[in-house]
Amino acid sequence: MKLREIAHSRTGDKGDTSNISVIAYRETHYPLLREQVTAERVKAHFAGVVEGDVVRYELPNIAALNFVMSRTLGGGVTRSLALDAHGKSLSSALLDLEIDVPADVK
């Protein structure tokens, strides 16, 4: 299924760096996020968008991951040529990721 079914997400911006949170609706799904939503997968998913590295931070207390993606905002929000200079819409693209949710995980 799509990541959207088990998690929600918000994008933030600072300079040329975008951060995207991925937050499990249910705590029981957090291990699936940890296993399947890796920094490598996120970098591959954003081919053509993320020019730099993707670093992942884990926040088990709130069942969330935070992805920090450098060289992503067209050289910086204040000088970008992009229509969405802040990259606010990137979170929605990430929620399109495919996730395997085993039948025994509720």
Binding site: H8, S9, G12, S21, I23, A64, T78, R79, A93
Partner: protein, 446 residues
Amino acid sequence: MRTIRIGSGAGYSGDRIEPAVELADKGGIDYLVFECLGERTVALAQQARMKNPDSGYDPLLEERKRTVLPLCAAKRIKIVTNMGAANPEAAARKTAEIAKSLGLRSLKIAAIVGDDVLEACKAGDFPIMEFDGTIRQLGNRLLSANAYLGAEPMAQALKAGADVVITGRASDPALFLAPMIHAFGWPMDDWNLLGQGTVAGHLLECAGQITGGYFADPGYKDIPDLARLGFPIGEVGEDGSLVITKVEGSGGAVTARTCKEQLLYEVHDPRQYFQPDVVADFSQVRVEEIAKDRVRVSGGRGAKRTGTLKVSVGYVDSFIGEGQISYAGPGALARGRLALDIVRERLKLTGVAASELRFDLIGVDSLHGRQVSAHANEPYEVRIRVTGRTENLREAVRIGNEVETLYTNGPAGGGGAWKSARDVVAVASVLLPRELAAPSVRFVEA
């Protein structure tokens, strides 16, 4: 235990006006904070101030103050804001004038000055963090340098009896931390309290983004009554305990989900959220719904502040030219692609000097690029968009012109052409030894 209630009346310069009035009227708040200063706004405001020494503050200052000052004065609600932008003293004088015109007497209005560190930055010629180069290398393109000040000068102003505190560049969470430091006498080296206070400030600073704004996703995350979105209130105890809530009956919702999303908004390493007053640690934060629209947020910590302040440097970066035109109906996408190809070739043929160009199909690939959008369905209508970076305005204008001429020279049925050309004031950052910034408080009586 003593508790204060802090309302967040604006999350950016152009934010809605009336939620702050609702907070002042029905929120039972002690403080009303307006965060209105974007990254590059100070640089733009500095340009305005150079033209007119009495300007350079937030353009909505008058409207916001006129609507909330009478209520705040009657209920003894203190106002803290960064609407001073590039000219906090002029903003304070204007606020005094507004107060007088409303018949409000003996209001104490404080301006925080000293965030303008342009001379210190030039003297030190510090390296720029985002690209290779130093302050001096920006030459006459350099417009402004403003340090993100901490909460201390604002807390001092409150202690000296200020009813309204107007600052320029300051860290956004510090606008909220200042009332806590003032009300509870928190020591400036109690890093865990300052860290938890920073969590509160960070959650509140974007106003509606924690009460259901920037959140709704129909069928997945539904939020009621976004047209009447209520802005948040932070109930902060002197031990740092925090409940996020909003005015009863207002639109929106405060839930664990809205709070979690905002907790990580614009955060990189959650263990190290650098602030002027503390290095806050969000990694152990817990979020718990305790009643409808009431969420307890605990576990913020902190470590000793660093020896530097982040400085936002405004400079003239380049010029951007842009043009757009739409196609619809059968074959719209093919005609849009043809249009882009024509403009691409025209820019070459006519020798437009652009250092960077971008060709988008709005409705197809403009937000996430060709690769991410590769599997999208064909839309009924598309809008092409061509943008380019140039050295001067003349070249920038030529980009939009080449899109506009598609009307008579391009594919069939092109409509709604639009073009623009503008200079780009961008911001970069340097780190300044903190002792080189000397903030102070100046009072204006109404």
